[in-house]
């Protein structure tokens, strides 16, 4: 009954990888634990390729299918190539508001239909808006697949939103801004990190601005649906207990008749200029109990060959109990209570983030120094080969772990189609992890993780002295 807090959601999110496997080969298990290999040095683990089929309907709708009968459920994702970066001018946050309105009913369904179609049969439904995409997804017992395809096609074609509905939902979205950005102690930290962008619309973030949302009208809603919610701007991903021939026939029946509009789809063409000097932002939070720091570095788009190397660097810095930031900032010096690293690879050039929250008695400046020292090590020293192997194993294992479910496989494929531009990146990324060398790590760190390419957010508490631990 309680919506998850921001803290919960971003603690979980780093595990959501786009890469994955649908059908995995059985790996041999030694018959005796006495023969267990030593805990460290081992040969790299292999990554079995994903098996998926893709096609495009005449109206431009892309379809990706994975047949997997291990569980009697099916995941349905309908992902649109539109996100926060595509918000209309002076309407920051609109793509996210629009996502909420997609649950408000159509000419054929009542507003609560999505819960009736999913939760009532033992499934669930949800959606999210990212900087690049908006993804709607459901998981249901597989005998309900056709009903969900009908419902998704229906809201692609027939969304009906009236004024009272619109006004109510806008209030909900603005209420969430208050809760997640203002009331959450570190909510503003992530928003400020968008200051890494001077020109590109990524600078606005996804949650946007309450003032601009309040200026939005029902006409904006209609225009946005017409502009972006169309078959040639969407992918349907189906994963699970399905018969591909039958599933394809249903997709054709319900999505095939949707018309491809003549008007072209507007695309973001702004190019962020190369950064030549470090940017620094300081912010005094009213409700953060302890100072924090965030450093963001510009990196290339998801389609780049350096993307997988950045993932491995993310693992070296931030994944697991032995990660470099944890070891240096938490275990050895105790300047931080939480650390975080994220290769935020996007459709257009993204950012590599490192973040830390201080312990009592330490300043955001201490954190910036400590984070900077760990980034400098990547540039100045060659990563030991056993540590690099550890990071690769962690990345691949994390992918396998997260993608146990049909839901996660479908979400990963949907993101790969629009963010990477190719579902085959599901295979390219993990296989590329295996080939990353110490030289790659150093080369990529020297190229992107530089002082002049960074934006530093120093997040201060309102009072000069940080409080001690809670009693």
């Amino acid at each position: 009954v309680t919506p998850p807090s921001l803290a919960e959601s971003w603690a979980v999110q780093p595990l959501l990888r786009i890469v994955g496997i649908a059908v995995v080969a059985a790996l041999g298990v030694p018959a005796s634990a006495g023969a267990a290999p030593p805990a460290t040095a081992s040969a790299p683990i292999a990554f079995p390729p994903i098996a998926f089929a893709q096609r495009t309907l005449p109206n431009g709708l892309r379809v990706v299918l994975v047949e997997d009968h291990r569980a009697p459920t099916v995941a349905i994702d309908v992902c649109y190539d539109v996100g926060g970066k595509d918000d209309p001018p002076a309407r920051s946050g609109f793509a996210h508001l629009f996502e909420h309105l997609m649950f408000k009913g159509t000419s054929n369904t009542r507003p609560e239909s999505w819960d009736r179609l999913t939760e009532d049969v033992g499934g669930y439904n949800n959606a999210y808006t990212a900087p690049d995409v908006t993804n709607y997804y459901e998981v249901v017992p597989s005998n309900h697949l056709e009903r969900l395809l009908w419902a998704e096609a229906d809201r692609m074609a027939n969304l009906t939103v009236d004024e009272p509905n619109f006004v109510t939902e806008r209030k909900v979205v603005i209420g969430e801004y208050d809760q997640r950005v203002l009331a959450s102690p570190y909510g503003m930290l992530f928003e400020l990190a968008n200051g890494a962008y001077a020109v590109h619309p990524y600078k606005r973030g996804v949650i946007g601005s309450p003032a601009q949302l309040n200026a939005a009208s029902l006409d904006d809603v209609r225009a946005f649906h017409t502009t972006y919610y169309r078959p040639d701007n969407a992918v349907v991903v189906l994963v699970g207990d399905l018969d591909p021939a039958q599933a394809n026939a249903w997709v054709d029946r319900y999505f095939g008749p949707l018309r491809r509009p003549v008007a072209p789809i507007p695309r973001v063409t702004a190019v962020e200029p190369a950064q030549t000097a470090q940017r620094r932002v300081t912010y005094a939070s009213k409700n953060a109990p302890l100072p924090a720091a965030f450093v963001a570095y510009h990196i290339p788009a998801a389609s780049s060959a350096d993307g997988p190397v950045l993932d491995v660097i993310e693992a070296l810095l931030g994944r697991g109990a032995s990660a470099r930031l944890r070891t240096a900032l938490i275990d050895r010096t105790g300047v931080a209570s939480q650390i975080y690293a994220n290769a935020d690879v996007r459709q257009q050039p993204g950012v590599f983030d490192v973040m830390a929250i201080a312990t009592a008695g330490h300043t955001s400046g201490d954190l910036v120094t400590a984070l900077g020292a760990q980034i400098a090590r990547l540039r100045d020293e060659t990563v030991p080969s056993d540590e690099l192997e550890k990071a690769k194993t962690q990345e691949i294992s994390a992918v396998v772990r997260v993608l146990q479910t049909h839901d996660q496989v479908a979400q990963a494929l949907a993101r790969a189609v629009f963010i990477n531009g190719d579902p085959n990146d599901l295979n390219r990324y993990p296989n590329a992890y295996l080939r990353v060398t110490p030289g790659d790590v150093q080369r990529v760190a020297r190229r992107y993780l530089t002082v002049e390419n960074s934006t530093v957010v120093e997040y201060e508490t309102a009072s000069a002295t940080a409080p001690g631990p809670a009693k």
Binding site: P3, E119, A127, A130, E176, E389, R401
Partner: protein, 487 residues
């Protein structure tokens, strides 16, 4: 790889609230042709993997479950005891003990364990609940034997180094403080406390005060008494044969000696007199409303009917959400949670409402819960929807190896047969509306325990009129280690 991450997560979590307030009734303008959804196909028969069990000479019960096609192998070791076995003066010992297992052993420092875990790409986690502790690991198949060996070292020979205890206590204290700041989390802890007059009511994580008082000797003594093969259950699941799983279990735990002393007997739950408690938390954004009852234990013959009864009240179309959210717009959601262990079970119905709406929300919750065994027994159609929801949710657990292994381990520890997943499905299929009405009449018609956590000034007068015996406690005066709720 490609993620919107914090930003995407932000929006993702946000979306749970999509349609939050007024998804109920409004005018739909119907342009052009309408259509209706196609009917569902015939229901699929769900086949749960059938576990195989054995018992090692030292008494460790081992359950293997084969999950074809799974790249991961997962293990779940369930240890007897739990927070009901905490020393009376030291709630939080079981929880602190499990949190220290991977923080150094006789053979490895905390740092060495961290490196080993990461080098295997494995997870190593633990948690304590009322009647058990659980330690879990998973890894890709080729790395699993070493991961299980690491788990065994952590479980069998933890060092409990004094400096690690200091750090663990700090982490536990922060986590307790965070919980207390949430009205919903706090209300659930207070309800647990108010339902039971003894150890079953205590918070498993302890309180800031009780954690501070815990001594190393108490942790060592707890570990010696409860971390033992006889009485414990180890489940292993993945794409491996039972013979291979048993061999792995023997390799990791075969030489774990059972202690001479018997397992200390567990206390019996002591039901407290139902009461109405208001925890005044003026800073709370909304008030958490909780209505709690005692429920059957997991091995009880009426577990399935209890589970179906809970399903009638829970979920999107369940009665609580229908009455509170859909019909009246009092809250974003309402539901009921049925928790059932070896010795005790609870039904906890909850919602979050604006402070001033508390009296109305409480009335609706009480009458809705009472309706099943009274004026409005379930209809066959209503039961069919809720049962489909319950069974569908159960079937989806097959998707995840780690999730399935946890359920298999829990069932074995609760003394249930290896085919419990199929058996429970059949029992749920057989539950009829009359059985639910009969069950609700006894189980949900006793006076409930009511807990309200929020800004009491906005609702206390109205609540007092209906419930003159209400106990009001300031959040700052609350002591969850005491059955009276105050020091």
């Amino acid at each position: 790889v490609t993620r919107g991450l914090a930003r995407a997560a932000l929006a993702a979590a946000v979306v749970l609230a999509a349609g939050g307030v007024a998804r109920a009734q409004q005018n739909i303008v119907a342009p052009g042709a309408t259509s209706t959804p196609p009917p569902p196909g015939p229901a699929r028969t769900v086949r749960y993997p059938l576990p195989v069990a054995t018992t090692l000479p030292n008494g460790l019960r081992v359950v293997a479950v084969r999950i074809p096609g799974s790249a991961l192998v997962a293990a779940d070791l369930v240890i007897p005891g739990g927070s009901i076995a905490d020393p009376d003066a030291a709630p939080g010992v079981a929880s602190l003990t499990v949190s220290l297992l991977a923080r150094g052993t006789a053979h490895r420092s905390a740092r060495e364990i961290a490196i080993a875990e990461d080098a295997l790409g494995a997870t190593l986690d633990g948690r304590a609940s009322a009647d058990r502790s659980e330690v879990t690991t998973d890894a890709v198949a080729a790395r699993f034997p070493a991961a299980l060996a690491l788990l065994a070292d952590a479980v069998r020979e933890p060092a409990f180094a004094p400096d690690e205890i200091v750090l663990a206590k700090q982490r536990a204290t922060s986590s307790v403080a965070l919980q207390s700041s949430s009205p919903a989390a706090l209300a659930s802890l207070v309800a647990q406390r108010a339902l039971f007059g003894n150890a079953f009511g205590r918070p498993g994580s302890g309180t800031a005060r009780s954690i501070a008082a815990i001594e190393r000797d108490q942790i060592v003594a707890y570990h010696r008494a409860y971390y033992r093969p006889n009485g414990a259950v180890l489940a292993i699941g993945g794409d491996l044969s039972a013979a291979d799983a048993f061999a792995l279990a023997r390799g990791a735990f075969g030489d774990w000696n059972a202690p001479g002393a018997a397992l200390p007997p567990a206390p019996a739950p002591l039901a407290a007199k139902p009461r109405v408690v208001v925890v005044d938390q003026p800073a709370a954004g909304r008030t958490a409303v909780v209505v709690a009852h005692l429920a059957p234990v997991r091995s009880a013959p009426n577990y399935a009917v209890a589970s179906a009864t809970n399903a009638m009240l829970s979920g999107y179309s369940g009665r609580l959400n229908a009455e509170i959210r859909i019909k009246r717009g009092l809250s974003y959601g309402a539901g009921s949670t049925f928790t059932s262990g070896l010795y005790a079970g609870t039904f906890v119905a909850s919602t979050l409402v604006e402070h001033a709406k508390v009296p109305e929300a409480l009335d609706v919750m009480l009458s809705t819960i009472g309706s099943l065994g009274g004026p409005e027994p379930p209809s066959a159609e209503e039961l069919s929807v809720r049962r489909t929801s319950l069974l569908g949710g159960q079937a989806s657990m097959i998707e995840s190896t780690t999730g399935l292994v946890r359920v298999v381990a829990g069932n074995a520890f609760n003394g249930l047969p290896v085919d419990e997943l199929d058996a429970l499905t059949a029992q749920l299929d057989a539950v009829d509306a009359n059985a639910i009405a009969r069950f609700a009449k006894t189980a949900l018609s006793t006076p409930p325990t009511i807990v309200l956590v929020g800004d009491a000034s906005k609702f206390i007068d109205a609540v007092r009129k209906e419930h003159p015996g209400v106990q009001v406690v300031k959040a700052s005066d609350l002591d969850l280690t005491s059955a009276t709720l105050t020091r």
